[in-house]
Symmetry: C2
């Protein structure tokens, strides 16, 4: 399929790589920052442009992969009412593209992307949604070329999944960062707890997280909890967070 992509961030970069690897053709890469567009276009043998009105009409699919708050503005400049247009956002309704094209949808890769780290796209769940069954089918087929795990999810479901992902991924990563800070303040290396972080994530690949919860709160070890709160007295922000999360573990009662 001939594809043009608007955006040059983490998601755009990894999508372009995955499409190229699976034999699809990238026609143009459009980014306000021309250098970024050129860097990404070079990886795909595509043309780089820095204005949406420089997009040509030879692609069969146009992908808007920009920050959530820029999708609407970007879409408003899209010139081809008869071309399939999708965005890649977890949180934005498909409907934001409605007035811009007869065929529109969402192509959302549920993964955390950083430019400096390669990702095995085959394991990345792709959540797709089209405004018609035909569009959904096209997106499911395209998704199947780059991932072993493509599914149709509507905007409401996708937004719920994205929210869950914020808890599981963004928030967990922040707790890794806080742990690094705690270690560094004591002159200790973050590297010490890397195996623990990996094992914690590996464990829930086959178990439910609530079944393998460990730590002072899970075993109602109030002596250790109080010791930790005392250790954190110098950093009131961390102390308050420790208290909140501990309370949440103590009171956790999942929906069955």
């Amino acid at each position: 399929m001939k594809i043009s992509i608007i955006g040059s961030g983490n998601v755009a970069t990894h999508l372009v790589k995955a499409f190229v690897a699976s034999g699809h053709e990238i026609v143009q890469v459009c980014s306000r920052n021309l250098q970024h567009a050129e860097e990404l276009a070079a990886q795909a043998g595509a043309q780089a442009v820095n204005r949406i009105n420089q997009l040509n009409d030879t692609a069969g699919l146009y992908i808007i992969s920009v920050s959530d708050d820029a999708i609407s503005q970007t879409a408003s400049e899209f010139p081809f009412q008869d071309k399939l247009l999708v965005h890649t956002s977890g949180t934005t309704d498909a409907e934001v593209l409605k007035s811009r094209s007869e065929s529109y949808g969402v192509f959302y890769p549920l993964q955390t992307f950083s430019k400096q780290k390669d990702v095995d796209f085959d394991t990345v769940p792709l959540l797709v949604e089209g405004n018609t069954d035909g569009v959904t089918k096209t997106l499911l087929k395209l998704g199947g070329d780059i991932s072993g795990r493509v599914l149709h999810v509507d905007s409401e479901g996708r937004q719920r999944i994205h929210l869950a992902a914020v808890f599981a991924c963004n928030f967990s990563n922040h707790f890794y960062a806080l742990a690094e800070d705690i270690l560094n303040r004591g002159g200790l290396e973050f590297d010490l707890i890397r195996p623990l972080i990996l094992e914690t994530a590996l464990k829930v690949q086959s178990f439910s997280p609530s079944a393998v919860q460990t730590g002072p709160a899970a075993r109602r070890d109030y002596a250790t909890i109080n010791k930790h709160l005392k250790t954190l007295e110098d950093t009131p922000g961390l102390q308050a967070l420790y208290e909140k999360v501990t309370e949440s573990i103590l009171g956790f009662d999942p929906e069955k």
Copy 2:
């Protein structure tokens, strides 16, 4: 080395397996619950007992691996003043064993253990501490037999590492559990976000977590943050937690 172990929980179980695999002899397993003692002893060809006064004096090392709040009481019954005695706790001072033996210390495996999941012990950091240089040396040597990563850390350092581990491991796992709950409430499968969880943990194996933080808070995407807070209105506990962690990400300023 001949080793007897007091306790039959997750840490005791994995330690016994690792010692046996590296050729050490487990003499006795002592647990108040005789059946637990028998199950673990059977894996090591050891004798099972359920009272500390049934321990014989033929081992060279006695390991107390019980919950933190039971260490002191357990140690108080230990009958051999001249035998090397250690506990396996991240948070408990070595000094709690001082009055019970001339040779004492800590042998703390920094990992999250569940009975149902095997662990490659070779990658588990072992933090050891002895009351004398000789004891420390003995523990470093023993640790080296079961792990490629043994280091001497004093009680203060160990407690700081344990606190960091609570943030990085226990708290992250709780956020996985909350994510599962959010998905289940929408009839969606936790399996969808498993690849994301694994990738998040893999990423910080080579990068600093603060360098790879993603998500709405990291990119100051207040529209998405507010949308998420609104979605969480039905679950005020989750909403408050989302708000706290988001504030923490927004204001994060690590010690350099």
